[in-house]
């Protein structure tokens, strides 16, 4: 019998038609939408006189451009307000479930999907957002699509895409103290580059991945797109089932047992041949940080910026342009460089475990004077838990400003912008030019590293502070 990967199994089970020398007609189980990439799709759908074929398979929330203060008031920015209002009208007209601003399950679309148990193993999930890959943590094929495809899903619950090639990344061993799943993914991207995954769908495997919580797995799958991959997934296991048990949309009672029995079959057959494989040791991974303008430009926090040795003319030109933008020079070390802002949040690291780890780290300390510290929960649920657990108090005592849920400064569509020329160490996913506001300079890192930077005011390896703490005790 043909050996199949988990990706093959899920993909093949969702193909309605294969066009020879062309794409597959691919069925979508769940479709998430938000205010920015859906309005034109609704508009064109209606222009053609089409209806949403299966409205119950789409779930909406406004997240990209919403303000993170005064969410109970009318949105001040006229264009943002129009997009959010348009989403409300469209959902109402087409019978689509909406988790609106201020409601119990409002939040970043990739945070609320798992939180509600909408995301389940074996599904195909799309959204007009490249970080849809987040949901792969549950053993789903999940990826970002364009607005034309959003319209296709509305009209027919299908898209037309060719199957991607298969890559497996195996990480064995145990992570060191102070090293997190964000460091794993920044390490991988630094190894295989911001384009090294293009054309592939990745499966993450190995003992270091198995040992991670669901939230930590989501951080890894989330950034699959940052190496150009279509998406990334992790086979479901007891950690997955435990997370999903009792969630609002999870199967209940008899159905639960039956469903879990099926979920347990969702894994790659032994002996499956992948188109490309990488192996890494968890012990080699240290806290990571980016220094350039794509997520592949990352080094150990204790490392230095690579020199231009061995680069061709065109690579050299792009590299220097990137470092000029950042105000850095080849060969410089990063530790000790002064930072202006820290941002904890986004679909990458805006979950309760991220807030907990920051709170634990900064408890009883205060942020440095030169730092403005923003913390933006990924959802209302995360915010609620953070208040209940006393995390909000700890963070506020440490000088962090807690804001309301949304994508916020990750892409700075709302007012949460890093000023031009300023440095921000962020838990988000992209360090592109201007990503956090025109002229802003972003360095990506884990929540722990961000917490360490907040306290010292400069680029700091969090393990140095953990050691200090141990010594003080």
């Amino acid at each position: 019998m043909e050996k199949k990967s988990l990706f093959d199994k899920i993909w093949d089970a969702h193909v309605i038609q294969t066009i020879p020398d062309g794409p597959d007609v691919f069925f979508i189980d769940k479709h998430f939408i938000h205010e920015v990439t859906s309005p034109v799709a609704f508009l064109n759908l209606e222009k053609r006189g089409n209806k949403v074929m299966f409205p119950e398979r789409t779930v909406a929330t406004p997240d990209h451009n919403v303000p993170t203060i005064d969410q109970d008031k009318t949105i001040k920015d006229q264009l943002s307000r129009m997009q959010v209002e348009r989403l409300r009208e469209n959902c109402k007209r087409h019978g689509i479930e909406l988790h609106d601003l201020g409601t119990d399950h409002h939040g970043i679309v990739h945070v609320i999907g798992p939180e509600l148990g909408i995301t389940q193993p074996g599904m195909t999930i799309v959204c007009g957002d490249s970080h849809t890959s987040t949901h792969g943590a549950f053993g789903t094929i999940a990826f970002g699509i364009g607005t034309s495809e959003v319209e296709m899903v509305f009209a027919t619950q299908c898209i037309m895409q060719a199957k991607a090639k298969k890559m497996r990344i195996t990480i064995d061993g145990e992570l060191g103290n102070g090293v997190t799943s964000k460091d794993i993914i920044l390490y991988i991207i630094a190894q295989i580059s911001a384009s090294g995954g293009t054309g592939y769908f990745i499966e993450y495997a190995g003992s270091a991945i198995r040992a991670l919580s669901m939230e930590a797995r989501m951080t890894i799958c989330n950034m699959s797109i940052e190496m150009g991959a279509r998406g990334g997934l992790i086979a479901p296991d007891e950690t997955t089932f435990e997370y999903l048990k009792g969630k609002q949309y999870s199967p209940k009672g008899q159905d639960w047992n039956k469903t879990v029995a099926h979920w347990k079959t969702l894994k790659t057959d032994e002996g499956t041949v992948f188109d490309l494989e990488y192996h890494y040791n968890a012990e080699d991974i240290e806290p990571m940080i980016t220094y350039g303008t794509n997520p592949g430009m990352g080094v150990k926090v204790k490392g230095s910026i690579p020199t231009t040795d061995g680069m061709n003319d065109s690579e050299n030109k792009s590299y220097i342009k990137s470092l000029d933008y950042m105000g850095f020079k080849p060969g410089e070390s990063l530790q000790g460089k002064k930072i202006d802002y820290v941002f904890v949040g986004s679909c990458t690291n805006g979950r309760i475990e991220d807030l907990r780890s920051v709170a634990q780290f900064v408890k009883g300390k205060h942020k440095a004077d030169n730092i403005t510290a923003w913390i933006v929960p990924g959802s209302k649920e995360v915010e609620k838990m953070a208040i209940k657990e006393g995390i909000v108090q700890i963070l506020e005592d440490a000088g962090f400003k807690l804001r309301q849920p949304g994508c916020s400064a990750c892409l700075a569509m709302n007012d949460d912008k890093i000023p031009s020329g300023k440095y921000a160490v962020s838990t988000s996913n992209r360090n592109f030019e201007g990503r956090q506001g025109p002229g802003s300079r972003t360095l990506l890192a884990s929540p722990l590293t961000v917490a360490a930077v907040a306290i010292t005011g400069v680029i700091t390896d969090p393990r140095d502070l953990i050691e200090e703490l141990v010594q003080e005790k």
Partner: protein, 196 residues
């Protein structure tokens, strides 16, 4: 969404050699607030094209009158990052109908094919040849023929073939999109969904 169909495009070329150009550069997030697909070309490469007062930056290629045309010649890993189709809308609205690069990001490439911008992947060597030719003479023309799947530098006659699957090729030549195709499968889809 209807778009201009074409079989053969002969045009001058606008060169942008930077590598890893992400869709945030093509259209920054703050310009994604529209609810209709109009006018995105004005903000194409906004922050590279204009300073923070809105004045054109003379050293950016779109502001250099030496270069014009319907073909954008781009560096390696063009269109990475965000899935925003607005990036392709901006490219289309500005007047480009074809982007040539030695390497495209996946989602961007799909988005191009869905709205009538032809992404042509060439070898790194041919990309270098095109960049050199345009640099030496900005008036050189390139011919892109979809039916023959060839791209030709007309000044030398050097050509390369490029890949495009037969379904998308048919779409591009006829101005079709996938929704027409999918709507014809409605019955099969309903049956498939009912069996889930």
């Amino acid at each position: 969404m209807a778009y201009d169909k074409f079989e053969v495009l002969t045009s001058r070329v606008v060169p942008l050699s930077s590598e890893n150009v992400d869709t945030d550069q093509i259209i920054p997030a703050r310009f994604l607030k529209a609810t209709e697909r109009e006018g995105f070309g004005d903000n194409l490469f906004r922050d590279w094209r204009y300073d923070n007062k809105g004045n054109p930056k003379a050293d950016f290629v779109l502001n250099d009158p030496t270069y014009s045309g319907k073909i954008l010649l781009a560096g390696k890993n063009f269109g990475s990052g965000s899935s925003r189709e607005h990036a392709v809308w901006a490219i289309y609205d500005y007047g480009f109908r074809c982007v040539v690069s030695s390497f495209f990001a996946d989602i961007f490439k799909n988005n191009c094919l869905n709205i009538g911008v032809l992404p042509v992947t060439v070898s790194p060597k041919f990309a270098d040849e095109l960049f050199s030719a345009v640099e030496a003479n900005p008036e050189v023309e390139v011919e892109v023929a979809i039916n023959k799947q060839t791209i030709t530098l007309l000044s030398t006659g050097n050509a390369e073939s490029f890949d495009i699957n037969s379904h998308k090729k048919d779409n591009m030549i006829n101005g079709f999109d996938d929704i027409d195709y999918l709507l014809n499968l409605k019955e099969e889809i309903v049956v498939f969904e009912a069996n889930k």
